[in-house]
Amino acid sequence: MKPAQLLLLAFVLVALARVIQSFSQRRMPMADFLFWILVWMGTASVIIFPDATSFLAHLLGIGRGADLIIYTSLLISFYLIFRLYLALVRLEQAITEVVRAMALQQLPESIDSRSDRGE
């Protein structure tokens, strides 16, 4: 095993430990837990058996295994950024709703019952 493989594997192990820790402390739902376990196990197997990616790459008509990894990681990153964007938009809208509800509590019952200060 080459030094680069050992380093990368160590990183994956740390990530896996974090996933398991979050799940056992009930900070992560089951679906997320399975997703991340799959992602990091997949990453680990690619690190241990790099030739497997070359095989897959050839099947798909991509020259090198390393290229396949870069393409898929980019795709996954973009997808995650998109999910993050949607979550952020929902969060922003939720904040606006809370701020609006608080502002509307200042509203008088009807136009006639409003204060006539300064008129």
């Binding site: 606006t96 009807s110 136009i111 200060r117």
Partner: protein, 229 residues
């Protein structure tokens, strides 16, 4: 229609230099129901507006123009307003124009009236004209509604029209979204020419080039979201 059934919504963010003048101007023209939405200003906008005897609604956080307009329109509907006018707090509008804005609604000719600063654009600086024209083209391409001034802050709605609008965006992109909602709900709408009072101050409050680019991005995303609804 210049009675209690009309509500004027004034979204205001850090407008302490102009807010009093704007409120006084509107009152002198006989408008009594003024709803000022202080959109989390860090200056004295809210305090000064409150002293003028308006309905003051305070956002504890800055939510942007769309957020403030949404709150103001919602409040106007709850108060039972029959028509709603939106009016910028930076002093660029002339209260004289409101009557002309309401006329098509009172006659039943339109549900939504946009006050266009471009039908008679004397006094508008050229870079501003170009920016406005770009915004109009973008609004048309995304939402199929052509106006000569898609970014105007001076508008009037019938209460039925206002109640049907679903405002989702929270920033400057709301101006185009209102046109999108008008088109989507198949509301009758028209433009009337209004004056724009361009002072150094009101010009400084407009969108800069970079803010405009951000607005463009958000509009495209809003268009995508709409197509997914």
């Amino acid at each position: 229609m210049m009675d209690k059934c009309l509500a004027v919504v004034i979204p205001a963010y850090n407008e302490e230099r102009t807010i009093i003048e704007v409120i006084r101007g509107l009152k002198q023209h006989g408008f009594v129901t003024l709803i000022v939405v202080d959109d989390g200003s860090s200056d004295r906008t809210g305090e000064l507006a409150g002293q003028q005897g308006v309905i003051l609604l305070t956002h504890i956080l800055n939510r942007g123009l769309g957020g403030a307009l949404g709150t103001g329109i919602n409040a106007a509907l709850r108060l039972g307003a029959e028509a709603i006018v939106t009016f910028d707090a930076d002093g660029q509008h002339d209260p004289d124009d409101i009557a002309r804005l309401l006329e098509p609604i009172a006659k039943g000719e339109a549900d939504v009236v946009i006050g266009s600063r471009m039908l008679d654009s004397t006094g508008m600086p050229y870079p501003r004209r170009l920016a406005n024209w770009t915004a109009n083209v973008v609004t048309y391409l995304l939402f199929r509604g052509w106006t000569t001034d898609s970014q105007s802050g001076l508008r009037a709605f019938s209460s039925e029209a206002a109640a049907r609008m679903q405002i989702m965006t929270s920033g400057m992109e709301v101006s185009s979204e209102i046109i999108a909602e008008t088109v989507r709900n198949r509301l009758k709408w028209k433009e009337v020419p209004v004056k724009a009072i361009y002072t150094e101050y009101s010009l400084s409050k407009g969108q800069s080039f970079t803010v405009g680019l951000g607005t463009l991005m958000k509009l495209i995303l809003a268009r995508v979201q709409r197509s997914m609804l």
